[in-house]
Symmetry: C2
Subunit: 344 residues, 2 copies
């Protein structure tokens, strides 16, 4: 058995409070992961077995300007957790709630991996039977073609290392399947991805909104604005539809009886669509593994996020991403890459 | 009773063929609309009562380059229908299938209304209980802030005239509710819309993907890239979810029985979600009313598209849009508007 992996967890970003995060950490610890929990010790209470609590009561989880808060609050729990990862005291960072704070704390402390323009937020979409790694879902509102190209290779490497997809099919989200469809930046990214032949990556071209959830690609790449809108739209449409189905079922005695009979069959579907099962969003492009889970996750989701982080460390996701980008000539400063100014 | 409205209909863009379009036209004619159908007379067969068939067998519905096809094929049915509207022989254009061809044929023949930068495609989203007019869903892949501002006022005027919403709430689709969220162009459009006070329009700020389908705004504005992706994503997610629910219901005898009992209650929901009920997408910003319906529409959807066109003409949607833009100072060349180059 190899060395246990150590994960630093910020306990201040969860809606259910630090004790719920500590309970999730305890579940992960029971599975053999070392967990350092950064949060207010007095609100966590008795320390669960296998978990180390580092008293870090200062929270910036509700800060209106997360980037400023990260810069100006070195004692904040999320910053301390990120620093622990940067210092090698932990192998991965897990935090919840504000992705802005998570990305900023990671960028300033753990830092970008060599040759990465911008980190990206990747989410495994909970699609029945056909999980899709979707990025960027919000780290970069505006991107250039070379960023999209890096996102594609980062996503593919992560899908291979952590999701176990041998040769991921990678697509670009666009307004039509034809390679002529999209913004000029997207067309350029399409051209670069089409021309490259990289072992272990299969570029499948443009993916439309209609087929994003249909399993035509394993990794779908977009800018952080479109990705964020799309991710939230999927959430909104699902909840509107399920709500409407529920209301329709309740509208008549016949419907009510039908709904009751169906409930058991739909439970499996609900589990498949469960966002907690995926463990949250991955911050790709850092020197270490970073994961942001949704603020409303329960201990189960937190435990899952820690488990995914552990797996990414064990599978050398960061190193393999670096190798994939190197092989594709997609690292910043690589002979084939364009020059670029980078804003953190 | 006022003069009947005349609608020019292209019969070549429907998947079910020209005869299906003519059958839809016949339904609209039975309701008192004069309909000119442009299509292959030999494939339409006996001319339905109240419908005039203009033999126009040349179709560019499947052209790979719709803009080029429109330019190079003056005898194409869609171009002839658009020319009839431009010449005043008809009051509105209805066509199906390729939005690219529809927008190009409209732009080159019916032309932009005075002071309009770019026409936009607007779709009433079939959301149970809370219809939302969503634009642009694909006419303009890239837009500037002044375009988004015009889309907002065009959408609001149309919602008022045709959907009967007294004082539409207008929002901008963005990656967060805060006014600081979005691309620089979106922030600028937000600023302009916040500062203007226009009678009959209520600007509600940013709308996220999560709430687009939740009835927080009556008109939601975005660029044609994001809008197209989002519209198709809603389609994709709905069909994936309904498919998964259906599969779950079939997975056990209990589920099957439940599904059968529920069927009646869900029929109403299906009708509410029916895209044919809305009649298709509206091309806003032209000198006359233009509507594009989905290629797969049946006669019912075609009849509905013609009915919506008729209503837009009767309600002077084009003139009222113009007045609203004038009042908002949002017309091109207006003192408060920025200078801009326009590409068709």
């Amino acid at each position: 058995m190899s060395e246990p992996v150590t994960v630093a967890v910020d306990a201040n970003g969860a809606d259910l409070g630090p004790a719920e995060v500590a309970a999730g950490a305890a579940q992960a610890a029971a599975d053999g992961t070392r967990v350092l929990v950064y949060g207010p010790a007095d609100r966590i209470g008795p320390v669960p077995d296998g978990v180390t609590v580092v008293d870090a009561p200062v929270s910036i989880a509700k800060a209106a300007e997360p980037v400023m808060a990260v810069r100006g609050t070195p004692e904040a729990s999320i910053v301390r957790a990120a620093r622990a990862v940067a210092a090698g005291e932990a192998d991965a960072l897990v935090c919840g709630g504000s992705t802005g704070a998570a990305v900023a704390a990671s960028l300033f402390n753990i830092k970008r991996a060599r040759g990465i323009y911008r980190p990206a937020l990747a989410v495994p979409l909970p699609i029945p039977g056909a999980p899709v790694l979707f990025l960027d879902v919000g780290a970069n509102v505006e991107v250039r073609p070379e960023h999209l190209v890096q996102f594609a290779y980062m996503g593919a490497a992560f899908a291979r290392a952590v999701m176990g997809i041998e040769r991921p099919r990678v697509g670009l989200l666009s307004n039509g399947e034809e390679p002529t469809k999209g913004t000029p930046d997207l067309l350029e990214a399409h051209r670069q991805l089409s021309e490259a032949t990289v072992a272990g990556v299969q570029f499948v071209g443009n993916v439309e909104g209609t087929t994003l959830t249909a399993g035509v690609a394993d990794v779908v790449v977009t800018d952080g604005f479109t990705g964020n809108v799309a991710l939230k739209l999927m959430e909104g449409v699902s909840s509107t539809l399920f709500g409407a189905v529920r209301a329709a079922a309740k509208s008549s005695p016949r419907g009510k009886a039908g709904g009751l009979l169906l409930r058991g069959s739909l439970r499996g579907l609900r589990d498949e669509l469960d966002p907690e099962a995926a463990g949250g969003a991955y911050i790709l492009g850092l020197r270490r593994v970073g994961i942001v889970h949704h603020g409303r996750f329960t201990r189960r989701g937190v435990a899952r996020a820690i488990a995914v982080a552990e797996r990414a460390v064990r599978e050398s996701a960061v190193e393999r991403t670096q190798e994939a980008l190197e092989a594709a000539g997609a690292l910043r400063g690589a002979p084939s890459g364009a020059e670029a100014t980078v804003t953190p």
